[in-house]
Amino acid sequence: MTALGRPLLRPGSVAAVLACVAALVGIGAATTSSDLVVLLGYALLGATAGYSLSGSI
């Protein structure tokens, strides 16, 4: 595990990173109609959904 990897895997860090990605996707959706935005949107939907079940292992 890298020195950067460990802090990034904290619960709050992962949620914050996903929220930042969401902000970028939101900006992309507001300014362009690129297929990349749709692709990132579905990836983000899946990732947030999967991570939201974190307490249920």
């Binding site: 595990m1 990897g5 460990r6 895997l9 904290r10 619960p11 709050g12 992962v14 949620a15 914050a16 996903l18 929220a19 990605v21 969401a22 902000a23 996707v25 939101g26 992309g28 959706a29 362009t32 109609s33 690129s34 935005v37 749709v38 692709l39 990132l40 949107g41 579905y42 990836a43 983000l44 939907l45 899946g46 990732a47 947030t48 959904a49 999967g50 991570y51 939201s52 079940l53 974190s54 307490g55 249920s56 292992i57």
Partner: protein, 174 residues
Amino acid sequence: MWRGRVPREAFALGLLLGGLVTGLLLTLLSAFVGLLPRPVGLVVVAALLVLSVTQALGLHDIRLPHRAQVVPQEQVLGQASASGALQFGFEMGTGLRTHMPSNLPYVALACSLLLGPWWAGLLAGAAFALGRLVMAAGRWAHEDWDVAWTDAYRRNILLLNLGGAVAAGAVALV
């Protein structure tokens, strides 16, 4: 959760396989459900999003149907075998056998089924598995992961719902 290297890799592989199987199922189903008019899909997604966000805000505790049955860790992980880890990962990756404290997976499900192109289910399924894998990696990296998650649960779940809402808006409107 066990810490052996091979079981971890088998678990990760199982997660991804499970996510891809669910994604494939969504892709097949979307061929039929996707025939519904787009406005119907938008209304369903919006309703699920409201339900998920308001739950995250603590306004209610309505949970949509799920198979509230944990994977038998004592049996599967007790063996500490690669096949047990693979099975555990697969069941978690499908999302079909898990407690669902959040309704956000239903938003992803509805978007993939009702609004997305054919590949949306596969991509969302793989990303769902990756999201679960990041959680597992966090537990491996930090002994106090459960405590940290519980302490900041409300903030984290709100951030995740915010992210899910933006993503749903993006795929619905672009």
